[in-house]
Symmetry: C2
Subunit: 232 residues, 2 copies
């Protein structure tokens, strides 16, 4: 589907959306980023995965990559509060270890792979450079942390500074801390972190499809009218 057609469909669907909601779309869209992306490796507690999605939406992260090795990913709707419909979710599953494919795909897109775990080569969150290129932050399971595969394939390691007797955080808390800190730093930097116009066209259309009831039928109908010849 060409960008032009996407724009036509969006503009047709937007007739079914309130002015307020459309303004909210633009506001959120202009704060969205793909400069930082999130990778969840094999989380098995749905409330943790869901809490991370909610945090991503809050801090303007558009893409979440979900690796399913042992555990199928499910969303807990009470905790995600519908956040997943505003995000682009990429799933990697089907093999016994899907981590290499996920990481390769992200490296090809130009991401630095940053494992969020203490490590001999780690830096504290405040010292992780932002301006060396886009970051894919990898978060591991609640019980075992990141797999050896992701530790081997990671380019960098980051940890949260801690000063007490307790030496770990819940995964949803870690993710929130890392994302809050890095997105705030990104927003106040000179980095070009915003979506391109063409990315916005895609996401705007996805969101319209989410909020308009039976948007599939409306869209089909509109496309028929647009190209009457297709139906003859």
């Amino acid at each position: 589907m060409s960008e032009n057609v996407k724009q036509l469909i969006f503009s047709y669907l937007s007739g079914f959306i309130t002015e307020n909601k459309l303004r909210r779309f633009e506001e959120v869209l202009h704060n969205r980023t793909r400069y930082i992306t999130v990778v969840l490796e094999d989380l098995y507690q749905p409330h943790n995965a869901s809490a991370v999605l909610r945090t991503c939406d809050c801090f303007g992260i558009q893409d979440v990559h979900i690796i399913e090795n042992q555990n199928a990913y499910t969303v807990n709707p009470d905790i995600a509060l519908g956040a997943s419909k505003w995000l682009n979710l990429f799933k990697y599953s089907g093999q016994s270890n899907n981590t290499p494919d996920a990481i390769r795909a992200l490296k090809e897109k130009g991401y630095r792979i940053v494992a969020t775990t203490p490590h001999k080569d780690d830096v504290v969150l405040q010292d992780l450079p932002l301006d060396k290129g886009p970051l894919a932050l990898v978060f591991g399971t609640e019980m075992r942390g990141l797999t050896n595969t992701s530790l081997e394939l990671a380019d960098e390691f980051v940890k949260i500074p801690m000063y007490g007797f307790t030496e770990s955080f819940n995964i949803s808390v870690s993710a929130a801390l890392v994302l809050f800190y890095l997105t705030e730093k990104m927003r106040s930097s000179g980095i070009n972190w915003k979506l391109t116009e063409s990315e916005m066209v895609d996401i705007r259309l996805n969101w319209a499809r989410e909020v308009v009831k039976r948007s599939d039928l409306i869209e089909e109908d509109f496309l028929k009218k647009l190209n009457p010849s297709d139906n003859e």
Copy 2:
């Protein structure tokens, strides 16, 4: 009990504690603060209260004030991971509304009362001044937020900046974000945020009592030897 006696008891109990653990005590103690304190108003989900205690320990907050109005406070040991034994917990209960007493006590100790909630007079977290005096950060219930009493008695209001469709965080996530941001800012500021020597003497003794098995009997025995005349 005089400071001198406390020191004698600690030094006796420390004979039952490993060198490693004692070093850890000093490391943690020198990162502890009362410049920032946490007030939990009537939380009813034990896993949330417990997660906040764990976060307080991680970021070096020594005191947590717990207001019980409708809901009795309980700790979930799986989530708190023993954090409560390293903290000083102050409970306010017994009346139908214990918030005024708690806030009055904190104001008398010189704390600015900062409600963590969006409000017409709020500032974003990054704009909350740290150098205007010690802060008591008040967190409310999961369902209803802060009570009108605490909103009326608060001196300042702070909110977390958000950029998505979702407009709230889980209480344990909010607390972690606020405490991480403010304690990091505090540690890199010129503010005098550390405990006094005399406060350290108290806390050191509490910790020793927590880790030495049957410390009550050992202490009793030691005090008898120290003042044999008391037993005649």
